[in-house]
């Protein structure tokens, strides 16, 4: 008889303990918690990463040999004067005899007065 009474109590307690856990959730609740919530988190993080990448300067890097898309810039000391006299001096500049590269190739040559100098290089 004792064994019989034990058998009648045990299933009841076992059911109670199991029912307290995740098994109490319905199928929709389970899906929402274990699929929809992680998916939402993943989507939010991915969106943030995408926006951050686009806004940042990471894709503006110059890499030699790869096409670099940018607006040309010219840093000058007196931009106003360049704008005003730019056109006139372009034509004036074209009339000047251009310095030949052969002249510039002579490294360390004494600079003749009245000529432009400098250097050329590639990478």
């Amino acid at each position: 008889m004792v064994g019989c009474s034990h058998a009648s109590v045990r299933p009841a307690t076992r059911d109670l303990f199991f029912r307290l856990g995740a098994l109490r959730l319905s199928v929709t609740d389970t899906l929402l918690i274990f699929v929809a919530v992680p998916l939402a988190v993943v989507v939010v993080i991915a969106a943030l990463g995408y926006v951050g990448n686009r806004g940042g300067s990471g894709d503006k890097r110059y890499r030699p040999g790869r096409h670099f898309d940018f607006a040309p810039v010219w840093f000058v000391n007196h931009p106003e004067q360049l704008v005003e006299s730019g056109r006139a001096e372009i034509t004036e500049g074209e009339r000047k005899p251009a310095v030949t590269t052969g002249n510039l190739e002579v490294a360390g040559a004494v600079a003749p007065a009245g000529e432009t100098g400098g250097a050329s290089d590639r990478w």
Partner: protein, 134 residues
């Protein structure tokens, strides 16, 4: 006296479209200002496409500057991988071609590593220190 920025088409573009980040622009501005003030030469930096022949185009840009004789132009085209340093007739006496070439060499070394701003700053510093006090 501030260093201006403008496009070849003479329209004011958005600086963010340019090849430099804000931080690099600030550093460039500072270095250019120091170079101009320290030497009394006009340093100018052009970054953009250069038409063939490249040297002629750089000379043309140089002649457009307010005072070409006193001006030093650093013109570079990242896509063509070309660098031109143009010194005016007065500036050339203080920066001989040999030193311009040395500065160009160090700039090209930085450009080859993908560092445009760093190369320009190094070159400017080198040219300015060679020109010395006016």
């Amino acid at each position: 006296m501030t260093v201006g920025e403008m496009q070849a088409e003479q329209s004011r573009p958005d600086l963010r479209d340019g090849p430099f980040t804000t931080r690099q622009l600030l550093r460039l501005d500072e270095v250019l200002r120091l170079a101009n003030r320290g030497t009394d030469l006009n340093f100018s930096v052009y970054v953009g496409p250069l038409e063939e022949p490249v040297r002629e185009h750089a000379l043309r840009l140089h002649s457009q500057l307010a005072d070409p004789a006193d001006s030093v132009l650093i013109a570079l085209s990242p896509n063509q991988r070309q660098l031109e340093v143009v010194t005016g007739s007065v500036a050339r006496r203080r920066i001989p071609d040999r030193d311009a070439r040395l500065a160009a060499l160090s700039m090209v070394a930085a450009f080859g590593g993908g560092d445009l701003a760093g190369g320009i700053i190094a070159g400017l510093n080198q040219l300015a220190s060679r020109a010395g006090k006016s």
